[in-house]
């Protein structure tokens, strides 16, 4: 039980409601796992498992109740390797009036324990969260990483490099086991220990499959998480930046396991994004970080987002974050994640414990307490504040469970476990009744603990593995096992501490599904020797005993790569965006329209047989022209490009507009505050010098996204399609795109028969109906794609399947299903995006001057279970529409209200509305020239918006390179960078580009292009606000 008073409460100690851990292990050697529960302030409890889920409380005689004021995490570990499980309990000491230290209860073997942390050097005194035992230096014994947490001080909000300054109590520590005595080696092992380390959990695993244990540390608040790669020499290298692009902000519990069966352990970190609409709008969210995030970036912190992160391990090199795709991102105030096969179907499932007694981040509470210190002394203010804590809303939330199939998770809350609000913190899985399935135990806050009995029982087969390793690590912590069965392998690695504050048994549990036949089991011991056990019996606990002299497992085999692409540095160009911020101007829009560059065009300017490169730039930086001589590139001096430095270039095209035999240049201009620099430009080529010529094309003040050329009227000159995307400052406005007809001498006029008002993102000329003349395909946002069949210069719109309104980004034609004809492939927003979380019906955008102030607003509403809610928070809405502050004076009054209730039905009716019905990228299947069926791509294509397709020839086979990502999005989204690049042969045959020597795409990809050099080809990857990369192949 935790009691509160004016000294001891969530206001004075931020982790007052974090709860306690639970541990399982057989302490009396009767094969039945016993349970230990941590009490924060009361007495810890030890229960002996009597079988049949009956337990006996032996806490008092066992002498484990603890002496520290505030206990947190617990690990059962046989520290002295006497075959009896000891118990290590973490404590917070030195904060408030908390005293004591972390305690080690040595098992006397007779149902009693003796606290002896000091003799082992484990009597750490500080703000400890949980301990993690593992053998990081491979000397055979178990070392320990202790996660400690910071508390808010003015200093802990400082620079990121504070993490280098080790701070007592707060900094995490790594203790090396030197013959049974633990020594602090944190500094020499390169472990951060700064005042800003709000450590709430860690996950130990050999993430990169090199045979050595790595560490991922979850830090709450602004401090980045830490990803320590084991250097195999007693030190670690913190490598978060190299391996992760998207991390959780308020990282709490975590777990690691191979969930997709690729042999690499994946990771989940939990956060606190609410699911329920009312709670979501009553709680402070990422929108409050609009400025703070920019500030934290300046202090050296990484961008972080408040939602759970499911990090899929790509061959140990980098992680792909997929929580939104899996819909495991928003489980509210979440503590312990546990990966395990609960239904014994061979696939890892996921349990998440949830709930907080009171929500300290309630927006109305924060406003309410604003008067706390008004005219009061600080102590008086705190007393007053404490007396008000009942005004904090309850944070009881149901625990959640998800069924895995190695591909995607499916929510089974309400089916597998009851959907009832709880306050569960520490949690473990353990087969309490030895019936071959994993039960769940949660330590609940100020309530009796819960046991969830697993009723899978005999319905599916299983195998349990226990280890007997060397005498210095008897339980075999760190051992890996690969179980081969039914053509599938499963990997697990044995560690005790998992999830949050808790520890599981020294036992690996494998579900086998319908088959009871196991081909073999491979056990890799902590010293990397391995043994193979052939066809062990299923539905039993197999005890694997270490024997010296096993073969060393060769990890290098898995690392071999098929290097086709070699990185080159022919073109040194880094695009840097200017400082324009769309969200400062239009506060409700979901993404920027100003960061679509750089423009990129290929064309043989000097007629030497090699294509040259134009790269347009952002406002304030000049475009460049790189001349290609087949061996290298040389920058061409172009004074007019310098003159036009104030333009933002979105797209460019080399095209001979005046029929003089050389390539001229059309540059499509992007967002610009000045009307002077909004207009598109046409440069004529005069012997290699480009001169801007005005008056040849009509003035275009819109943000232009694309320009393409084709002699569509077959009169012997190049005509242009100009795709317009948006009008700066009015996001929801649909704008006109048009075709420019060339009069033969480079003078253009709009084709009056062609009308398109939309938000065009991309366009291509392709011969769709194979009549020898090219037709026009156009992608748009908040609209469906368009296909115009070219009938002798007349463009007739072709009907497409229904419900294709999307956020389409790009298009290509490619024989995706390998049936001999080309399908039409569309890049859309993807499913690993925040829009996907509330997509029970089309996403809506309403566009109107809602507050009648002469400026039009664009308001988004999403569909949650049939009802439409505003996407934006009350604070955001009122920053764009002052009237919202008057209608809703607190957050509670708007929270849970539908868009009709917030904006009023009448206003919505008068507004123009646009919708998104499809988020998935996919293709229109070519069935004998008919395109009547849209088929979504596999999930690996849905990881982020797709913005670019490139077809290239590789080993005599046409393949597609696919790229995307988006950093254009607002705080609601965070950032999308999980589409690391695919190399695609066909719909079922594709790989990640990183397997072939191309660096994973971490940036927002603008364009992927390929050109021929004298003796090789060059692949060019162009990013927004990032470095251009090229690879020879």
């Amino acid at each position: 039980m935790v009691t509160e008073d004016s000294e001891h409460n969530i206001i004075n100690y931020i982790y007052y409601y974090n709860g306690g851990g639970v541990a399982a292990g057989d302490i009396n050697s009767d094969d039945l796992p016993d349970l230990f529960f941590v009490a924060n302030t009361g007495e810890n409890k030890l229960f002996i498992n009597k079988g049949n889920l009956e337990f006996e409380d032996i806490s008092e005689q066992a002498n484990i109740q603890g002496n520290a004021s505030w206990n947190t995490g617990v690990t059962m570990i046989d520290i002295n390797n006497d075959g009896l499980l000891d118990i290590y309990v973490c404590a917070v000491s030195g904060l408030l009036d908390f005293t004591g230290h972390n305690e080690l209860f040595i098992n006397n073997g007779d149902g009693t324990f003796t606290e002896d942390a000091k003799s082992y050097g484990l009597d750490f005194k500080g703000y400890s969260t949980q301990s993690y035992f593992f053998d990081y230096d491979k000397d055979g014994d178990l070392d320990v990483y202790i996660v400690n947490h910071a508390v808010h001080t003015n200093l802990s909000h400082g620079r990121a490099d504070l993490r280098n300054d080790r701070t007592a109590n707060v900094g995490d520590v790594l203790l090396r086991n030197d013959n049974g005595k633990f020594t602090d080696v944190s500094d020499s092992a390169n472990i951060y220990g700064g005042i800003n380390g709000y450590g709430l959990s860690a996950s130990i695993a050999d993430f990169n499959n090199d045979g050595w244990d790595d560490i991922y540390v979850c830090n709450d608040f602004h401090e980045d998480d830490y990803y320590y790669i084991n250097n195999q020499d007693g030190t670690f290298k913190e490598s978060l930046d190299e391996a992760f692009t998207t991390i959780s902000r308020f990282s709490m519990g975590s777990d690691a396991a191979d969930i997709n069966g690729n042999g690499y352990q994946d990771l989940i970190t939990l956060d606190m994004l609410p699911k329920e609409e009312r709670v979501l709008k009553e709680t402070e969210g990422d929108d409050a970080m609009f400025n703070m995030q920019a500030h934290l970036k300046k202090l050296g912190y990484k961008d972080q987002f408040s939602r759970n992160m499911l990090q899929i391990n790509q061959t140990g090199d980098y992680f792909i974050e997929t929580a939104l795709l899996n819909k495991v991102a928003d489980t509210d105030w979440s503590w312990a994640p546990l990966f395990a096969d609960f239904n014994n179907d061979t696939h890892q499932d996921l349990f998440i414990s949830n709930g907080i007694l009171r929500r300290p981040n309630s927006l109305d509470f924060k406003k309410y307490v604003s008067s706390a210190f008004k005219g009061r002394e600080e102590s008086e203010g705190l007393e007053w504040l404490y007396n008000s804590i009942d005004k904090m809303p309850s944070g009881k939330v149901a625990n959640e469970i998800f069924e895995g199939n190695s591909e995607i998770f499916k929510n089974q809350t309400g089916n597998w476990i009851k959907n009832e609000p709880q306050l569960s913190n520490g949690a473990i899985y353990v087969d309490l009744d030895l019936d071959g399935d994993l039960d769940l135990v949660t330590n609940n806050f100020n309530q009796a603990a819960s046991i969830f009995k697993n009723t899978t029982n005999g319905k599916a087969n299983y195998l349990d593995l226990k280890f007997e390793y060397k005498s210095t690590n008897k339980e075999g912590v760190g051992s890996k096992a690969l179980v081969y069965s039914n053509g599938k392998s499963q990997l697990k690695q044995l560690y005790k501490s998992r999830g949050f504050l808790s520890s599981v048994e020294a036992k690996l549990h494998f579900g086998l599904g319908k088959t009871s036949k196991i081909d073999s089991v491979k056990v890799i011991w902590p010293n990397n020797e391995y043994i193979v056990i052939k066809q062990p019996e299923a539905n039993a606990a197999l005890n694997v005993v270490y024997q010296e002299g096993g073969q060393i497992y060769d990890y290098s085999k898995n690392k071999e790569k098929n290097i086709i692409f070699k990185k080159e540095d022919f073109i040194n160009f880094t695009h840097k965006e200017d400082n324009y911020n769309d969200f400062a101007e239009e506060k409700l829009i979901p993404y920027k329209v100003s960061t679509l560059g750089p423009a990129f065009a290929l064309g043989d300017i000097d007629d030497n047989g090699f294509e040259d490169i134009y790269i347009g730039n952002s406002v304030g930086k000049p475009a460049i022209l790189m001349l290609n001589n087949g061996l290298s590139f040389e920058k061409s001096d172009q004074p007019e490009f310098i003159e036009d430095i104030n333009f933002e270039d979105n797209s460019a095209l080399f095209v001979d507009v005046d029929n003089d035999g050389d390539l001229d240049l059309y540059v499509a201009s992007g967002a610009n505050k000045s009307p002077k620099y909004k207009t598109d430009r046409l440069y004529l080529n005069n012997n290699g010098k480009f001169t801007k010529k005005e008056g040849l094309v009509p003035e275009d003040q819109f943000i232009t996204s694309t320009v393409i050329a084709y002699d569509y009227d077959a009169d012997g000159d190049q005509d242009l399609f100009i795709g317009n995307y948006s009008q700066l400052g009015n996001f929801g406005l649909m704008v006109d795109s048009y075709i420019l007809v060339n009069n033969g001498s480079g003078h253009f006029e709009k084709d009056q028969n062609f009308k398109l008002t939309s938000k065009v993102t991309d366009a291509k000329w392709y011969d769709i109906n194979e009549d020898g003349i090219k037709d026009l395909i156009i992608t748009t946002e908040w609209d469906h794609p368009y296909i115009f069949i070219n009938e002798e210069g007349k463009l007739r719109e072709m009907k497409l399947p229904n419900e294709l309104n999307g956020l389409w980004q790009t298009v290509t034609m490619y024989d995706f299903d390998k049936d001999g004809d080309k399908d039409i492939l569309f890049g859309n927003w993807g499913l690993n995006t925040k829009f996907n979380l509330n997509f029970d019906g089309p996403l809506m955008m309403y566009h109107s001057d809602f507050d009648r102030n002469g400026v039009e607003e664009s308001i988004l509403a999403y569909n949650n279970d049939g009802k439409y809610y505003p996407l934006n928070t009350k604070d955001e809405l009122s920053s764009q529409m002052n009237v919202i502050s008057k209608i809703f004076t607190d957050h509670k009054s708007m929270a849970g209200k539908t868009i009709e209730e917030v904006i009023t039905k009448g206003s919505l009716k008068q507004a123009k509305s646009y919708k998104v019905e499809t988020l998935a990228s996919g293709y229109l299947l070519n069935e004998n020239g008919k395109f009547d069926k849209f088929i979504p791509f596999d999930k690996d294509f849905q990881l982020a918006p797709i913005t670019s397709f490139l077809e290239l020839q590789l080993k005599n086979e046409n393949q597609l390179v696919v790229g995307g990502n988006s950093f254009r999005v607002n705080t609601y989204h965070g950032a999308y960078s999980a589409l690391k690049g695919l190399l695609v042969k066909g719909k079922d045959r594709y790989n990640f580009v990183s397997e072939f020597g191309i660096e994973p795409f971490h940036d927002q990809i603008k364009k992927i292009e390929s050109l021929k050099m004298k003796s090789f080809n060059l692949l060019i990857v162009v990013s927004n606000d990032g470095a251009l990369r090229c690879y020879s192949y």
């Binding site: 400082g158 609009f290 920053s879």
Partner: protein
């Protein structure tokens, strides 16, 4: 409040007697007007209005009250055609026997209610008064209300043309700049810059927001011998010296007394929240009340004094904010943390807008200037304005000496360079003098110095 205390009793009384007895006249005095202002301040603090927005909140209700009183006054002139955009009012419901004080108070409440966020607090307050008046003397109340509504609706219409609504939805301050001289959000809450478009509002008297554009601040420089750097180091040093003297020092007392920052964020455990305070404008409205009470001004003069003071404050904000987002100058805290001392904290929390010129300096000087025209120089008073916010009273020999203390408090507080406060003072005096010269309140003797 007298009215409230009697409310219940009178309600009962009126029920028992209303049919038989001729109703007493409703008496509205200066005190009632001050009470209404205090109520407005209370709601304003609750709603956390920014300092410029708060200044607007005080001025329109006051003008409505003033105009209600003085459509046919023998002493005071209407402000129509004197204030920018205010046309002569169209009045049809005026009668000679109307209770003008009552009507003025109703007009004040009407416009206030229109402006605040937490309308219900104000509506409840208004309704309880209305019920009381209606029961007390239906006829007198309803006549006054009709007239007041006629005036207040026209004032509201004029108010709505001041572009305030448009500026609500204009761009927020864009922090994406690498220029070290440019203002950046400050710890601990890193709020957006407040009211970057305040200069687009219609001023009350000024020809334009930039009419009294101050001299530019010293050129940004981190060279040790530059004026800018010297002023920066002086802020750093003065703050450190004061801190050494301790919390009981006069400088800290002065800094806290004039803090008037409604955005102060407190960081406790999980919390970062706004510590509610009044704004600089509200402080000077409070001083005006103290002066009225000390001189026992009658209702008309009270309304006049409050109206003139609030106009001077409102135009001072427009003038100051015009310069703030013209110069966009970085705060001392940002520079000191970046270049000198990463752990330094100013004694006062840095308010969330650019540094130059000091808002408190402009506003205090402008307010002191017009208060002096009304109550005279050498007007001694005990300033009790901050008592509800936990700060002791301070004594001043004159309005201008109070303003001078407000000005220097910003340097003591570590949130302004010296140039910002001294240039701000000059700017404020110019605004105050201009308000006094441009607007004629008194029909016969505009330079009425004291009662």
């Amino acid at each position: 409040m007298k009215v409230k205390r009697l409310l219940l009793f009178l309600l009962i009384l009126s029920c028992l007697t209303s049919c038989e007895v001729e109703n007493e006249p409703i008496i509205i005095q200066s005190e009632d007007y001050h009470n209404a202002i205090d109520k407005l301040t209370e709601v304003m603090v609750h709603d956390i209005f920014s300092p410029p927005a708060a200044s607007r909140l005080y001025v329109y209700p006051s003008i409505a009250a003033y105009e209600t009183l003085n459509q046919n006054s023998e002493e005071y002139l209407s402000l129509a055609t004197q204030l920018n955009g205010l046309k002569p009012l169209q009045i049809t419901s005026y009668k000679d026997n109307i209770n003008l004080n009552l009507a003025a108070l109703i007009a004040y409440l009407n416009v206030s209610e229109e402006m605040v966020f937490s309308k219900e607090i104000f509506t409840n307050y208004k309704d309880s008064l209305y019920t009381y008046w209606d029961n007390n003397n239906k006829k007198e109340f309803r006549a006054a209300r009709s007239y007041a509504e006629e005036v207040s609706s026209q004032i509201i219409k004029w108010m709505k043309e001041d572009r305030y609504d448009k500026t609500r939805t204009m761009s927020v301050y864009n922090i994406y700049s690498d220029d070290p001289s440019v203002w950046q959000p400050t710890p601990p809450a890193y709020m957006n810059g407040i009211e970057p478009h305040w200069n687009k509002l219609r001023p009350f008297t000024l020809d334009s927001a930039s009419q009294f554009k101050p001299a530019p601040h010293p050129d940004f420089s981190l060279e040790p011998d530059s004026q800018f750097y010297k002023e920066l180091m002086s802020v750093y040093k003065i703050n450190n010296d004061i801190r050494e003297k301790g919390n009981e020092s006069e400088e800290i007392a002065i800094a806290r007394f004039w803090d008037c920052n409604p955005f102060v964020s407190v960081n406790k455990g999980h919390y970062m929240f706004a510590e509610k305070k009044i704004t600089p404008g509200a402080h000077w409205i409070g001083i005006c009340k103290i002066a009225c009470e000390k001189n026992q001004t009658d209702f008309k003069k009270t309304v006049y004094a409050q109206t003139k003071t609030s106009i001077a404050i409102a135009d001072a904000f427009i003038s100051c904010w015009d310069e703030k987002y013209r110069s966009n100058l970085v705060r001392p805290e940002t520079l000191i943390n970046k270049y000198i001392d990463p752990d330094w904290l100013p004694i006062l929390q840095t308010p969330p807008f650019p540094e130059y010129t000091s808002g408190h300096s402009v506003v205090s000087s402008s307010a002191a200037e017009v208060l002096t025209t009304i109550f005279g120089d050498d007007f001694e008073f005990l300033d009790t304005t901050e008592i509800p916010y936990g700060l002791p009273a301070r004594f001043f020999k004159s309005f201008k000496s109070a303003a001078d203390e407000a000005i220097i408090s910003r340097v003591f507080g570590g949130i302004h360079y010296e140039s910002a406060v001294y240039e701000g003072k000059s700017q404020g005096i110019l605004v105050g003098k201009f308000v006094d010269q441009k607007i004629q309140f008194l029909k016969f003797n505009d330079k009425d110095k004291s009662q």
